[in-house]
Subunit: 195 residues, 2 copies
């Protein structure tokens, strides 16, 4: 049952999903084919089609993979739950999050491609919606449980403002300078979290 082992090899599946992220970021959603993924991952032609039922399945799994790769480390979670309960600390946390997401540039661009595809694919839309809502609830709960200043709206509005800041920085990096971006993150925290 060789194919069965191959089919369930999680490392190989991750390699294929990571390759799909690179293809999406570089070629756009229409460039995402099993053939392109196999080539990007340097695996034999036909491999991706063993792992994913169809392009829809591949795309929904790419969405999950993005969140998986950006899941906060144990160290990050400790910083969140055991750091000082101050606005200044939230500034640091937010700068770190933006930096971490920007460092995974192709992942974020791939996710934007998937969001546009989601306007055309109800199943993908349902999966991404669930994922974004879960992520938001996770962030709100962590923030409140950590006893940090601010409320649910603070977390939601930071999510909104910082996401578009990342869009600007990744797609049109000339809109804000590095210094302006840092100032905007600080101002967003100060104003949205409140006194």
């Amino acid at each position: 049952m060789e194919w069965c082992q191959v089919r369930t090899n999680p490392e190989r599946r991750h390699t294929l999903l990571d390759a799909a992220i690179e293809v999406l970021a570089r070629e756009g959603a229409r460039g995402l084919t099993f053939r392109a993924v196999d080539k990007e991952a340097s695996v034999p032609a036909g491999t991706a089609s063993n792992y994913f039922a169809n392009r829809d399945d591949l795309m929904t799994q790419v969405g999950s993979r993005f969140y998986e790769r950006l899941a906060p480390s144990a160290a990050t979670m400790t910083q969140l739950t055991e750091g000082p309960k101050t606005r200044a600390h939230i500034r640091t946390l937010m700068r770190d999050i933006v930096e971490r997401i920007e460092a995974f540039r192709t992942g974020y661009l791939a996710l934007l491609e998937l969001r546009l595809e989601a306007t055309r694919r109800p199943e993908l839309r349902a999966v991404l919606t669930e994922r974004v809502r879960a992520d938001m609830e996770f962030n709100v709960r962590n923030h409140l449980d950590a006893g940090l200043p601010g409320d649910e709206k603070s977390v939601q509005l930071l999510y909104l403002a910082l996401n578009w800041l990342i869009v600007d920085r990744l797609t049109l990096p000339g809109v804000f300078t590095e210094e302006q971006s840092q100032e905007l993150i600080d101002a967003a925290v100060d104003r949205l979290v409140g006194p």
Copy 2:
């Protein structure tokens, strides 16, 4: 010199750009061909190629067309400059802007497609960057000249938060309910504009 008249017919150019917006929103950037634009605009094959030097030229002109179609009307400008100088009035203005942009759904989705294309096309990136910066400066200047409460950072942070709210609403409309969206707009204004 028939072709010369055709080439400079501004109404026809707008029709083609509006058709390009629909194609971009529906098919993505890769689906944007002169042929698809001609078809969408119901004009003879070959028309678009008389108006645009190449796909890059077409895409940069689509970017401008988006801002042209969303330019505030005289009535909107009067509301801005002559309305009450209160946070409550800014709430109304921001709800109106979000509604106006969302009503031009295909335009906004087309612009997101162009932003992703801009990561691959330096010329398009330069044109869009200029356009976004000009739009931002226009908004900041109008806000301050109107004597509304808040500062430059208020306007920039509202731009960030409301843009991603629109992304969520257009691509994953299940993330926030209509009521939550309105509450987020109000909270964004209250907190970002300040007392």
